[in-house]
Symmetry: C2
C-alpha cells in the first residue's frame, strides 16, 4: 500500500454513523494530525457551514478539526460558480433552492442571491422549499440561467426515516425544465477536482476514503483517483463482490489502515 500525501474523507458512515461514534475513525484522524498529513472531509452536505460540521464532530464525536478541514458540496458549488461566472457584478447572480451552508458559501464568493433574472440556479436540499421556489427556478432556467444541482442523493436520513434528498429536488426541476443539471457532489467529480486544488496535491497523491460505493468510491473511480472503502456504513462486501470496478482498497475498520 502506497503512502498517500493527502486524504479525502467522507463523513456519515465513515467518521460517524448518525449520532453513533466510530472510534477507529477518531483514531485515524488523530494519526493523520500527529503525522501532519493534510486531509479534507469531502461531503455532499450543503445545509451546514464548515463551522457547524466542526462543532458536530467536536461535541458529538470527540473529533477535533478545523473548518479548513471541511469541504462541503456547498463550498464546491460556490467555487465552481466562481470559476465559470463571466466577469462583472451583474453576472454573479444566483437563485438558490437550498439552505444556509450553500447560501453562505455563495455570498462569501460575492454572489448576489436573487429571484430576478439570475445567471445561475442552484438546487440543493432545502426543508423550507415550496412550489413557488421550484417555479422560480424552472422559469429562470427556461430563460437561460445555468442549472446547477449540488448533488443527486436520493434521500437524507433523519429520525423519521429516509426523507427526500437533494437529488429529488434537483430531479423535479430537471423534469419541469427538461434540462440536465451540472452536478457538483459525489459521485460526480467537480467536488473532487476542486478539493484537489484546495489541498494542493496531485491526483495520485490523494486517496478518497468512504463507506458508500455509489457516492464516495464512484466519485473517485469517475475522477481517476484511488479509493479506500471502509465497511462501517452503507456498502457491504456482498455488494462490492458484484461490482466490475472495485475500490482500490477495502477494509473493515480504519484501524487497519497504515499511514
Amino acid at each position: 500500500m502506497p503512502k498517500y500525501k493527502g486524504y479525502f474523507i467522507d463523513l456519515d458512515g465513515t467518521v460517524y454513523r448518525g449520532k453513533h461514534r466510530i472510534p477507529a475513525a477518531r483514531r485515524f484522524i488523530e494519526r493523520l494530525q500527529a503525522k501532519k498529513i493534510p486531509f479534507l472531509f469531502v461531503t455532499n452536505n450543503t445545509t451546514k457551514m464548515p463551522v457547524d460540521v466542526v462543532r458536530n464532530l467536536s461535541d458529538n464525536h470527540d473529533i477535533h478539526v478545523k473548518p479548513e478541514n471541511v469541504y462541503t458540496a456547498g463550498l464546491a458549488t460556490a467555487d465552481y460558480l466562481d470559476d465559470i461566472a463571466d466577469p462583472g457584478k451583474e453576472n454573479r447572480t444566483v437563485f438558490v433552492v437550498g439552505e444556509k451552508g450553500l447560501k453562505q458559501a455563495l455570498m462569501q464568493k460575492g454572489f448576489v442571491i436573487t429571484p430576478h433574472h439570475p445567471k445561475f440556479v442552484t438546487v440543493a436540499l432545502d426543508d423550507q422549499a415550496t412550489y413557488k421556489d421550484f417555479a422560480i427556478a424552472t422559469l429562470a432556467i427556461q430563460h437561460g440561467a445555468t442549472f446547477i444541482g449540488t448533488n443527486i442523493d436520493t434521500n437524507i436520513p433523519n429520525e423519521k426515516g429516509m426523507l427526500p434528498g437533494a437529488g429529488a429536488l434537483v430531479d423535479m426541476v430537471r423534469y419541469a425544465t427538461q434540462t440536465q443539471p451540472i452536478v457538483i457532489g459525489k459521485p460526480k467529480t467537480i467536488i473532487l477536482r476542486n478539493a484537489l486544488k484546495l489541498i494542493g496535491l496531485k491526483k495520485d497523491q490523494v486517496v478518497m476514503v468512504g463507506d458508500n460505493y455509489m457516492t464516495d468510491i464512484s466519485a473517485a473511480i469517475n475522477f481517476g483517483m484511488d479509493s479506500l472503502l471502509v465497511y462501517t456504513g452503507v456498502s457491504t462486501p456482498q455488494q462490492i463482490a458484484t461490482k466490475k470496478i472495485k475500490p482500490t482498497y477495502q477494509i473493515k475498520s480504519l484501524d487497519q489502515w497504515k499511514l
Copy 2:
C-alpha cells in the same frame, strides 16, 4: 368516417386556448348538444372541480355545459381509489399533495385526507406544496402506502411561463422513494377506462378529440380507442408526420368534423 355514439374531448388547445376562444369548438359542442350525442371533457386538470370548469367555459368561452360533462383526473383518481381500496373505513385514507379539485373528489368518495399512516398517497399539481408535504408523501410510501400520480404533465402554462406541472411533483416523489407511481391521467389509460364507464358506451363507439399527440392521442392509442387530432393547439402536422402511429383522424378545425 364512422358515426361515433360518444365523444371524449380535451379542453385547453382543443376547446379554448388559454383565454382565447376557439369558435369552431363552441359550434362543435353545440352540434353535439343539438343531436343529443353524449360527450365528456376529459382533462388532466386536478385543481378545479367540475363546477369551476363549467363556469370558466360559460363565462370566458360562451360554451354552456353541465358539470356532468366534465371528467377531470381528480375525479378519475377518486374513482380509481374507490375501486381498489379494501373494504372498511380504515382503508379509505389518503395523503394528498394536490388542490381543491382532487381533495373534493376524494372526500366525495368517502376518503379521509390525513398525513397519519395513509393507505394511499396521491400527488398532483399543488402550488402550495412544500418540502414537508413531499417528506410526508415519501415516508408514507416507504411505509407501504400505494403511490398514485394524477398525471405526468411536465408543465402547466400560466402568464409567467411554463411552470412545473404535476409530473414534476410526481417525479420528485418517485426519485425519493425509488417507486413507480400508478398514473391516472393522459397519456395513461385509467382516466379513459373510467370515462368509458361513466358515459356507458363501448370503446369502439367513442372517439378521443384533442390537440396534443403526447397526451390526448397517445392515451387513445394506448387504450385502443379511435382518436381525432385537431390542429388548434400543441401538435403540428410536421410533428405528426414523424410519428409511427398516427391519430385515426387529423383535422384543422372542428368545423370540418361531421357528426
